[in-house]
Amino acid sequence: MQDVIAPVKEFILTRYLVGEDPSLLTPTTPLISGGILDSLSTLELVTFLEERFDIQLEAHEADRDRLDTLSAIAALVEAKRRSTP
């Protein structure tokens, strides 16, 4: 999990949370419902995840269930990796 959370956290901190205290971005911090990610940044995150972890996401997966926290994102990436032959 940590190998996913760390780079994603770095991506979010440097793009959408400049100047914020990094320690406040925890694995359970709400990203979409907390207003940190909007529709455009969600798509940027999707592109980042696909390129960084070599996975393919579908439209219905770009939702709060899967992308709202670092933990959920890590779980999604892990599941995608497992399902990729």
């Binding site: 400049v18 798509l43 709060r64």
Partner: protein, 857 residues
């Protein structure tokens, strides 16, 4: 899925539900309960939105307390039960059964054990059948009141639900599905159709329950405040397009027309706040939309549920399909598709709520321009990177400029959307060059103030905040602060405070508790998109017994009750017709009056009163013998004639929709020949605007206007029949006072020449508040008319029991009885000026006894 398998649920919550109800929990619960009680008190005091809304909020508040005390597993079933009870509370039983029945069929179809595509096909077929019934293309057994609520519950939620069902790993529990569709607030708030199913499911008790409750009650109060502000804007500030003559009017129009949106945001806060009380920790529907700093930002802040709906069903699927052609093309294409869909679906929503299609050029133009602006802003954001920097916390001029420009431009766009038509909207802008130094400074001052305020962060700084634990004492303290705010609002809007003398201030406070239409809308029935959709809300609350205003109007028209003339009078009642409308018979005599027969020549020893006015006078919605004219006539003859005085006749010249100008023309053409002793012209608020509309209608119909004064006004205003009605009224607007004065003065003169005492009688519809100057009684007095003010006739009575129903506020039989009683007393009070009793030798009249109107006073 088996509908019959509904039982208590044991679904795991993300946060373990409380297992004990100790003193700390009881203390918190009592805190929330007090706040909820205050919100309900405010809803009753301010008569928020509608009778049904207040009832539903009361039911919800009472039901919440039981809900909060129930074991967790019984809460969702209780919520569903309450939601169904809410439907029963608002709709008549037969309509409620139809609604629930159709709803159950639709939900069950989603879960049929057949291929997903076939289920979608079946639902589309069902929707087409329902649409045909809704549009009355085929005879419909479904009561009309069902449609707006059914549309609200299913028109968008079915699409969201199917999407989530398709991608779900397991089928949702039946009770969750039914709770989602039959949401408690919808029967009274049909303008809340979109809720995301997954969010609804995911957020159910996903945090500490008392924090959720507190958020709910806070949002409900925020909703009340929005609605209170809306009423102030609506009753005191809004500038109609027809009133725009100068730069200041124009600025006032574009800003205030957008501020009417407070009603929508207020309703949404109330609705979501109520749902939060039942554990649905739903996100905000609006987030400080007046602080938007770009069009993408605005799109994300205003009507957020709609934006999320579009993201899910249109934007993301389109973007993922298009991205192989490049991210820029995908972004532009997906965003434009969102706005095309939004335009089409707003028309679709209009159809389900109101039963009419909405196809207007300015509607498409609004969504097209807004889409282009959002695309441009999105491209700029995408190219410039999406980096967000924590604000420094000090005043930011660039931010202020962006906010003022964004909201200002959106206000302009909104004025286009709410315009009658594009040419009318364009025509308004020539006012921008008409101003004077004082007005220009005022407009610039307003802009400067907006700019100064917009540069502050308003607490929008840090995006990351640690969540702190909270003690019971802290919870109670925060609740007490909110409760004090509620109490303060309840106090300043309470009837005793609102009645204090205070000029404008007391009028503003009084208007916060005024749910009725403002004078202009009462006269014109002109509203914007959301204002019009709120008609659906009113339509639901029709009483089961009364025919709706629209139906009655259609019945009278179909029965030939009205006849149309070529002159400025334009229409009158047809002579000797008998039409059944609603529950009553509408019959006219040989002269075209809804009255018994009267000879043209006044019988000897008879005091004859001519009563002129609009539908209220004609007796709209009541039996012919129950209108106040008939009751007055009967009482005059019963009490005064019995005492030895003369015979009394009251002739009912009422015609629906008549403005004072038409009353004047009617007097000129017909009434004078009946030699009345008194001519009572009945005035309503909004009459100056009605006069303008009478003139504008005449111009549009190419009617030759004979009166030199009117011809002069038309020539000066430069109007002709090629103009739209809005444009015509706008050109005539500066003449509204002079036309009113001319009408009243001519009424007085012609009446006196005919030997009648001219009387201006001000009345209002029950349930409508009135303000001192909303009927031109002072002008009538200056014109030489005797004035009688009946606007306070209903005071001290339950006005909701005096009108026909929630939609049609004309007085019912009881309301007419009140008017007749009061008018009788007023005539008696003015008996000398009217010559009402006359010299009858040897007769001494005691007169009516009324403690508020001492005899002879």
């Amino acid at each position: 899925m088996t509908i019959g398998s509904l039982t208590a649920v044991d679904e795991p919550a993300r946060v373990a539900p409380r297992t004990r109800l100790g003193l700390p929990e009881l203390t918190k619960l009592a805190t929330v309960a007090l706040q909820v009680g205050l919100v309900v008190l405010l809803a009753h005091q301010l008569r928020l939105e509608s009778v049904a809304a207040v009832r539903l909020l009361t039911l919800g508040a009472a039901g919440w307390l039981v809900h909060a005390l129930l074991p967790f597993r019984y809460r969702l079933p209780w919520f569903l039960l309450l939601s169904l009870a809410g439907i029963g509370l608002v709709l008549p039983p037969v309509a409620a059964v139809w609604l629930v029945g159709i709803g159950l069929v639709l939900v069950a179809t989603c879960h049929l054990p057949v291929a997903f595509g076939l289920r979608v096909g079946l639902l589309v077929a069902a929707a087409l059948v329902l649409a045909a019934l809704r549009a009355q293309l085929v005879p419909s057994p479904v009561p009309p009141a069902v449609w707006p609520i059914l549309g609200s519950l299913f028109m968008f939620r079915l699409a969201i639900y199917l999407y989530d069902l398709k991608h779900a790993e397991q089928a949702p529990a039946p009770i969750r599905s039914l709770s989602y569709f039959f949401l408690l607030p919808n029967p009274a708030f049909p303008l809340f159709p979109v809720v995301d199913y997954k969010t609804f499911e995911r957020t159910y008790y996903d945090g500490d329950e008392f924090r959720i409750y507190r958020k709910g009650v806070e949002w409900m109060f925020r909703g009340v405040v929005h609605l209170a502000l809306y009423r102030i804007v609506y009753h005191h500030l809004v500038v109609d397009a027809a009133e725009v003559a100068t730069l200041g009017d124009l600025a006032g129009h574009v800003v205030t027309v957008f501020l009417l949106y407070l009603r929508v945001s207020g309703q949404f806060h109330l609705i979501v706040g109520l749902l939060q009380l039942f554990g649905f920790n739903l996100p905000e529907t609006h987030h400080r939309y007046l602080l938007a700093s770009s069009f993408t930002d605005l799109w994300r802040r205003i009507n957020i549920y709609w934006k999320d709906f579009m993201l899910k069903l249109v934007y993301y699927p389109s973007f993922f399909r298009l991205r192989r052609h490049g991210s820029t093309l995908a972004l532009v294409g997906a965003t434009m598709l969102v706005f095309v869909a939004t335009w089409a679906l707003h028309s679709y929503q209009w159809f389900w709520l109101l039963g009419e299609p909405l196809l207007a050029a300015h509607d498409a133009l609004f969504w097209g321009i807004l889409g282009a602006l959002v695309v441009a802003a999105a491209l700029r954001e995408a190219k410039g990177g999406r980096r967000h920097r924590k604000p420094a916390g000090r005043w930011d001029g660039a931010l202020a400029a962006r906010r003022v420009a964004t909201v200002g431009l959106f206000c302009v766009l909104w004025s286009l959307w709410t315009a009658e038509a594009v040419p009318d909207w364009l025509d308004m802008w020539d006012a921008a060059v008409r101003t004077d130094a004082v007005e220009l400074l005022t407009v610039l001052g307003g802009l400067t103030a907006a700019f100064a305020l917009a540069g502050f962060s308003w607490g929008e700084g840090a995006r990351l905040r640690p969540e702190r634990a909270e003690s019971v004492a802290q919870y109670v303290r925060s609740g007490a602060r909110l409760g004090l705010g509620m109490l303060a609002l309840a106090l300043v809007t309470s009837p005793p405070v609102a009645r204090l003398p205070g000029g404008t201030a007391s009028a503003v406070l009084a208007s916060v508790a005024d749910p009725s239409r403002n004078a202009r809308d009462e006269a014109l029935e002109v509203r914007g998109y959301y204002e019009d959709l709120n008609r659906a809300q009113a339509g639901i609350q029709r009483g089961p017994g009364g025919a709706s205003a629209r139906t009655l109007r259609e019945q009278l028209r179909a029965g030939g009750f009205m006849s149309y003339t070529d002159g400025l009078l334009q229409r009158q009642l047809a002579p000797s017709v008998r039409v059944t409308g609603g529950e009553h018979v509408y019959q006219t005599n040989r002269w075209g009056m809804r009255d018994g027969d009267h000879a043209l020549e006044k019988p000897p020893e008879t005091y004859r009163i001519a009563l002129l006015g609009p539908s209220t006078v004609m007796g709209w919605g009541v039996a012919g013998e129950a209108d106040f004219e008939s009751l007055l006539e009967a009482r005059l003859n019963r009490e005064l004639r019995a005492a030895g005085a003369r015979r009394y006749e009251v002739l009912n010249f009422g015609v629906p929709g008549y403005s004072p100008l038409q009353q004047l023309l009617q007097f000129e053409e017909r009434v004078g020949r009946f030699n009345p002793d008194a001519a009572l012209f009945v005035l309503h608020r909004g009459d100056p605007v009605r006069i303008l509309h009478t003139v504008a209608d005449a111009v549009l119909r190419g009617i030759d206007v004979r009166h030199p004064e009117l011809r002069r006004v038309l020539a000066e205003a430069g109007v002709d029949s090629t103009m739209s009605k809005t444009r015509l009224v706008r050109r005539l607007w500066p003449y509204r006072d002079s036309l009113t004065d001319w009408t009243l003065a001519r009424m007085a003169r012609l009446a006196r020449e005919a030997g009648a005492v001219p009387v201006a009688v001000a009345i209002r519809l029950p349930g409508y508040r009135f303000y001192r100057d909303d009927v031109p009684l002072d002008r009538a007095s200056r014109a030489g008319m005797l004035t009688i003010d009946l606007r306070d006739a209903y005071e001290g009575r339950r006005e909701a029991e005096l009108h026909l129903d929630a939609e049609d506020k004309h007085p019912n039989a009881a309301g007419h009885a009140v008017l007749a009683e009061r008018l009788y007393l007023e005539l008696w009070r003015h008996r000398d000026a009217l010559g009402l009793v006359g010299p009858v030798a040897g007769v001494r009249l005691a007169g009516p006894i009324d403690p508020e109107h001492p005899e002879g006073e």
